[in-house]
């Protein structure tokens, strides 16, 4: 009982120290993901993109997170007028 409680406290402490760091690193990763997504979708968003043929084949791979992404970018609804997700 005592040992279990101590372990729980230990885990809580470990989590206390890890959480903000994990958050910072995850945020850095997300910023790069967002940029990547922007590059992949730029043609569809109306930004001329010399690599359009190659971004097209990446579209399916960034698709699943598209809704969360455009909301994060401050766009309430899908910016692709011919593709709806919400």
């Amino acid at each position: 009982m005592m040992a279990r409680r101590l372990r729980a406290i230990g885990e809580g402490l470990a989590e206390y120290y890890r959480a903000p760091y994990r958050q910072t690193l995850a945020r850095e990763a997300r910023e790069r993901d967002d940029l990547f997504r922007l590059l992949v979708l730029s043609e569809a968003l109306g930004v001329p993109n010399p690599a359009a043929p190659y971004t097209l084949e990446l579209m399916p791979l960034v698709w699943d997170d598209f809704h969360a992404w455009h909301q994060r970018m401050g766009m309430e609804h899908s910016p692709l007028d011919h593709i709806r997700c919400c």
Binding site: R22, F36, Y54, E57, P60
Partner: protein, 309 residues
Amino acid sequence: MLLNLLSGRGLIFFGGKGGVGKTTVSASAAAALARRGRRVCLVSTDPAHNLGHLFEREVGPHPVAIIPNLTAIELDPEASVTAHLSEIGGFLHQVMPRGGRAEIDRHLERARHAPGMAEAALLDRIADLAAGIGRDHDHLILDTAPTGHTLTLLALPEMMTAWTDGMIANRAEADRFSARARDLATGGASSNDPRADAIRATLMRRRMRLAGLRDHITDADRAVFVAVTTPERMPVQETLTLGRALGAGGIALGALVVNRVHGHAGQERTDERLVPLDREWPNLPRSILMQREAEPSGIAALEELAQDF
């Protein structure tokens, strides 16, 4: 002499101003190499195809046997784009809800006309064919489109390699940060993100292809670019432009073919016309092809032309 040079190179480009006889010259070189027992694949990337006329038979997007060891292809950018898009469409259909399929098709239809789309599709096919050198054939001979198109096409691998490198660097950073964030998760290490792996794999595949083609094109031991011209002012000027632009892109001219030279009476005049090229590339191997009474047509005529090489 030219044939010896060519037989040592797997990837052979013929280029020059429209109407100087690129198709005739490349087809004749192809036939001659095939006759020497080399397996040759001759490809036309010029939208205005005339390999079919030359060989007096139907040539299409799939290899057609002309004579033993020689196959010919007329690449159709339009068809390549369609193939490329339908592959992507298949992916998208899988991940999108059923109701959205019509919208995906509409989106892809619009993408069809994006700048660079045709070149990219063409390049893809060329990369495939170039990868077959040594396996399916010994030589890939490309009868290229007029100068502008060709330069765009040849600059593309370099440009797009840089682009994929940028994207790959982005992924490497993002993946590293995600991995470090996962290392700090309480529940121990979780498995890799399958989506990140798929993105990286797609990019790496693309990069391998583009960089492979770029390295192949710029390797003077494995590839050669033959400029075709006629002893006239405009084609010579364009050859100069073409050669310089290729040089800037890391591709050196390997040989020059001067086509349709008029008998002995015109010899001096011909030399005079070619002075700018001599000055620019004094040691460039050169073949002179005399003007024929009629434009060569059919295998026999092409092989006869090749004797002048």
